[in-house]
């Protein structure tokens, strides 16, 4: 997914001299090409994220289009006030890109887990928040956000490289994208759960069940009426995300559906509101949190077959 990001950025930067790439000393083996091709527009700001956001704001004030990159927590909560005051409040064209969504960096520990970054940035006015799930979503959402002067935050998963989408035309900022049709319930996914959701969908299908699968890689702004329309006739909705169960995709869906009087049941598959202090890779953590495709299939079957 990082490759999709950097290749798209290089293509954009060839045509648009306003594009700058700022990094908090990360990007080894990914940014070398950009740095060689556009040395004047590649700035390694060092391990100093607060200043990096301020510098990005200053560049944007002068008409540049800075992309700011680091590991997700460092490029969000480490410098949250700079993002809020310098970028969101002044409504500047700064694109923040955080690598390592969810528990991508599982074994490195909770300091590197990004379980609240997207939800926190969602609270900032003017911001667009994107959690793509495959390279096609990353590329398409990046191109769309590039065309908008609004500030944005895009979270990139490690290991989200498996292509799920077949067509790019249905991928749009703010719009739910139906991947599979179904009547027994609906699954709404973002980030790494696009891939896992697809696995769940395939398993359920092989067991004779049909559930709708919707990718919603935008946390804000979202076409809530369109989302409601896709979900209103379902009795069960399952949100799936690698984010704290508070404040992410599940919260967005519960707000949307409750406000419109939907009588169904929403089950949230998400990280519990606690720091994962045991050691383990992403898949291990998902297993412990009952978030693997196998566990989710069980949860869904239990829910939809309950009398």
């Amino acid at each position: 997914m990082r490759t999709a990001f950097i290749n798209t950025l290089i293509k954009l930067a060839e045509k648009d001299k306003r594009i700058y790439l700022l990094t908090g000393d990360l990007g080894f083996s990914v940014f070398e090409t950009f740095a060689e091709r556009f040395p004047e527009r590649f700035v390694n700001c060092g391990v100093a994220e607060q200043n990096m956001m301020g510098v990005a704001a200053g560049l944007a004030l002068e008409g540049k289009k800075p992309y700011v990159y680091s590991i997700a927590p460092f490029v969000t909560i480490r410098c949250l006030e700079q993002i809020r005051n310098d970028i969101a409040y002044q409504n500047l064209d700064v694109k923040i890109v955080g690598v390592g969504g969810g528990v991508s960096y599982g074994e490195l520990g909770a300091t590197h887990h990004a379980m609240e970054d997207a939800g926190i940035i969602r609270l900032l006015p003017n911001f667009c928040v994107l959690c793509p799930g495959d390279p096609l979503e990353a590329e398409k959402l990046m191109l769309e956000s590039y065309r908008s002067p609004a500030p944005s935050f895009m979270q990139l998963n490690r290991g989200g490289d498996k292509m799920v989408h077949k067509r790019r035309d249905k991928i749009k900022i703010g719009e739910p994208c139906v991947i599979e049709k179904g009547k027994e319930g609906a699954m709404v996914v973002n980030g790494i759960f696009l891939r896992i959701g697809k696995e769940v969908s395939d398993s359920l299908k092989s067991l004779g069940h049909d559930l709708k699968l919707i990718s919603l890689p935008t946390l804000k702004p979202v076409n809530r009426n369109a989302l409601y329309k896709e979900l209103k006739n379902q009795k069960f909705v399952f949100s799936m995300e690698e984010h704290n169960i508070l404040g992410g995709l599940g919260t967005l869906i519960s707000e949307t559906m409750a406000e419109r009087g939907w009588p169904g049941v929403l089950k949230k598959v998400a990280l519990p509101d606690e720091f994962f202090s045991k050691v383990g890779k992403a898949e291990y953590i998902r297993k412990k949190c009952r978030m693997t495709s196998g566990e989710i299939v069980k949860t869904i079957l239990k829910t939809i077959t309950k009398k």
Binding site: E40, R41, V43, C45, G46, A48, Q50, N51, M53, G54, V55, A56, A57, G58, L59, A60, L61, E62, G63, K64, E81, Q82, N85, D86, Y89, Q90
Partner: protein, 266 residues
Amino acid sequence: MSLEERAKEIRKNILRMMLKSQTSHIGSCLSCVEILTILYFKILRIDSKNPFSEKRDRFVLSKGHAVASLYSTLALRGFFPLKELDHYCKDGEKMPGHSTKRSMPGVEVTTGALGHGLPMATGMALALKKDKRSQRVFVLMSDGECDEGSNWEAALFAGHHKLDNLTSIIDYNKLQAFGRTNKVLNLEPLAKKWEDFGWQVKEVDGHNLNELEKVLSKIPFKKGKPSLLISHTVKGRGVSFMENKMEWHYKNLTDELFEKAIKEIS
């Protein structure tokens, strides 16, 4: 009008705004009056009729709580009518109590939380430098603000990138929100710290208009380095009962005190 008279007018207008709005930060506003007077009447290449022209020098008020001082200076410099100063901090008006981007003609960026102005100004200076443009970026910081780590990140960055189109002025009145700077977090040796971060440093009496003009007329202080001017000032300058008094970071004016203060300035 002489520069001294202009500084007096700016001070009087600050006091009027503070009386009418019953707001605080008077001491912080009064300590930087001469700095702003020299910048806006002698140094900055600006056009009050075209306040956001691309050709302007940029001024970033990082100590955003002294915005009354900036409004007062901008009005006197002709960016907007003096009578608009009556709107300061008034309900429904567009002159908030901290610097807010383009709230009024000439107000460049939003600050208020400390430690944000220098990093943004650094980004602006970097952009101008990359585009080989001649406009300069000026920042006015408070001394208490030097406690913020973000400023030292920016200091390191600006020194590393040799941003000699960037000049920062520290309003060094030695009195921060809840104590003297040397008691809260000692900044000394302040000049040496900035020098070590790659800046060329000068010091000046921040109330001496001639000295301020002289030193700010020759920037960068050294080619290839950002310039830092430590401007020694007195908080609450110009009003005897406010000078060097921490409480005037917070207190509001009464009619009686206002009259007394105006008399002293006149």
